[in-house]
Symmetry: C2
Subunit: 407 residues, 2 copies
């Protein structure tokens, strides 16, 4: 008897009919002789509806504790509906909320981190032969405050529960049927990968691929949880996210991805003195604004230009903070550019293959796509380009690295 964790996203439980389809799939897994733990997101659109209410109620500044308790109702609705439906279909099921499982988190509201998961309540229900249906996205602090794990947090809930239960499998059912070499909506030659390493998946996620929440992959890597991404709408094979193996290293590049949600901020003519960067970035991190790429040019005559990217959604807040700071540190001006996108190629093979960067730059140059910023990691190269070239760049790089060919 295996213990299987299955997570279904918002589009998979968008209405009662879809919840019923998921219930059938869960029952099928149970009937194969497995213990089943189901993790659910809120119905598609519900979390946004709740967030909009919170924004409207508070002129856009909801208290974090109340916000979390509000939006967590979305998952409470789907798990209770699922559990009662399973029971009425003849398979006893119990829903468990964050506080009932005891999914302990820190108290960073809106993007809490899981500290530990008590497996007792889950195991007790499993031992009764019940299917357990757990609300994703939510947790509880030691003071009994409800927290949420940030967008896509249900993936993290699923992996964390799988790790806590030492589950045999963690299946993430979503509206895509696996991890592709690139976005199939942009390039029809995109190919589904059978397997991808945790590190590649992490880089893809941070580079804008939306398949799994970044933290869920981090957790999966730490606890060695094999995560199988597949579609809840068909029965095709998906993609296994797992430990790096020799197969993977044969591939120079596994995927090309893009992120259109970044904006570029350039602080022009900053006096090149110690402490300037921290003056600029600490007020941003105080506000939990994530800064992605940072580039500082060589100093000329005691002045330098400093460029970084932040999420487009954060630009307004960045402005309100930095316009003042920039004056205080004696910078000339700040230039904001929202018309950019970030293109990345990712692959563990890069570690042992030279020339990947060169090939990337040449391929973009051939199409006259100007590179505005570059950043690299061990297994990823990212370039910021003008956003209108996004799709072209994706296709060019996908071809250049031969990603359409099965290996």
């Amino acid at each position: 008897m295996a213990l299987i964790v299955q997570k279904f996203g918002g589009t998979s439980v968008a209405n009662l009919e879809r919840i019923r389809n998921v219930a059938r799939r869960v029952i099928a897994t149970k009937l194969e002789g497995n213990q089943v733990v189901v993790i659910l997101s809120a119905m598609a659109g519900e979390t946004d509806r709740l967030i909009n209410m919170a924004m409207e109620a508070t002129d856009g500044k909801p208290d974090g504790r109340e916000y979390d308790s509000l939006v967590s109702t979305g998952e409470q609705v789907t798990v209770t509906l699922m559990a009662m439906m399973l029971t009425s279909m003849g398979h006893q099921a119990t829903s468990l909320l964050g506080f009932q499982v005891k999914i302990h988190t820190d108290n960073t509201h809106k993007s809490a981190r899981i500290l530990d998961i008590d497996s007792e309540a889950i195991s007790s229900e499993l031992n009764k032969g019940h299917i357990v249906v757990i609300a994703g996205f939510q947790g509880i602090t030691k003071n009994n405050d409800v927290t949420t794990l940030g967008r896509g947090g249900s993936d993290t809930s699923a992996v964390a529960v799988a790790a806590a239960l030492k589950a045999d499998a963690c299946d993430i059912y979503t509206d895509v049927d696996g991890v592709y070499t690139t976005d199939p909506n942009i390039y029809d030659k995109a190919r589904k990968l059978k397997k991808i390493s945790y590190d590649e998946m992490l880089e893809l996620a941070s580079a804008g691929a939306k398949v799994l929440q970044h933290r869920s992959v981090e957790l999966a890597k730490i606890y060695g949880v094999p995560v199988y991404v597949k579609s809840s709408f068909n029965y095709e094979d998906g993609t296994l996210v797992t430990k790096e193996d020799s197969d993977m290293e044969k591939e120079v590049v596994s995927g090309v991805t893009y992120d259109k949600n970044q904006a570029k901020v350039t602080i022009v003519r900053v006096p090149d003195k110690p402490g300037v960067a921290s003056r600029l970035f600490s007020p941003l991190s105080d506000r939990s604004i994530v800064v992605d790429m940072i580039i500082q040019n060589a100093s000329i005559e005691g002045y330098t230009d400093l460029t970084f990217t932040v999420g487009k959604k954060d630009v307004k807040e960045v402005r309100s903070v930095l316009d003042l700071v920039a004056r205080e540190i004696g910078a000339e001006r700040i230039v904001y550019d929202e018309k950019i996108s970030k293109i990345s190629v990712v692959g563990v093979g890069m570690k042992s293959h030279a020339g990947v960067a060169t090939k990337m730059f040449e391929s973009l140059a051939k199409e006259n796509i100007n590179i505005q910023m570059i950043s690299t990691s061990e297994i990823k190269i990212s370039c910021v380009i003008e956003d209108k070239y996004t799709e072209l760049a994706v296709r060019v790089l996908h071809d250049a690295f031969g990603l359409d060919q099965e290996r």
Copy 2:
């Protein structure tokens, strides 16, 4: 500094604009120097929406535990919105759910009874100077299962919290502005009562008046909590529900009420043997079906007719149970009549005034309204009549007892 508990019903928090109006009223109470605890219902219509989903998901038979956890989200939404709104209006507030307060109940899902309320979490927030916003209608069992208190349960939450905190006042804001001598929709001479005793309120509630949940009045009586019923839409005086006093005894009758939700069940020609009544009624109480009036005629030749009333909503289930039992006990047949209504007159003065019943029967007879069943308590007389005469009967009795005159 007084401690005020204020409860607002579903129509008072039906949308963000109304929630804002309630917030203003709460802030006004706070600014008068009081500590304020707010109890809220779900937005009007929301509980029904959730119940409908549960019914649709399970062919009308939702598991009680899951049902309660589902419908409790309605209050979770209003209390979190209220708390964040109060905070954004400059008055720090904290929402508390059933499990956060620790409103312990038994595990009778859908109509749980409160066992005790831990005042620690509430007091701790009040001591910080916060307004506390508590989800009505919900509680938690000792196993951490979410429960709900039945329709109108938020009234009971409010009174129980007021009792636990030894609050100075418990104000129930609703969509009516007090307790009337009868339903103003039926008779425009209905008069608002300044004061009414717990016992009268209990009889009015069980006789069909919808102002307060029955159990909330029971609790208020036990703990001596003065409950002030008023409108959330205006600032007029309401009605105080309190201990009986000499003023009240001057009134022979305080109110006339009706209940159109009852149906009459007659078991015809039941063998008059010991144990028959229990054979009939115990399967009903096993299913938590409330039987209201019961009449058994004198036995003739070893047979009797037995008549009782149940809620119209329960008739289907009663049929499914009793059709079998009736055969087993050798009854001739069962007659169901849904075209009835129950008219009641209520007043503590009855205890010391003779002739109330006679006056009631005469007044109905004068209008040729036939009385099908009669039941009496110390301070109430109820008659079952044909439902088409309901409004006429209410007006006739209201006039007969001079209820339109202020005393």
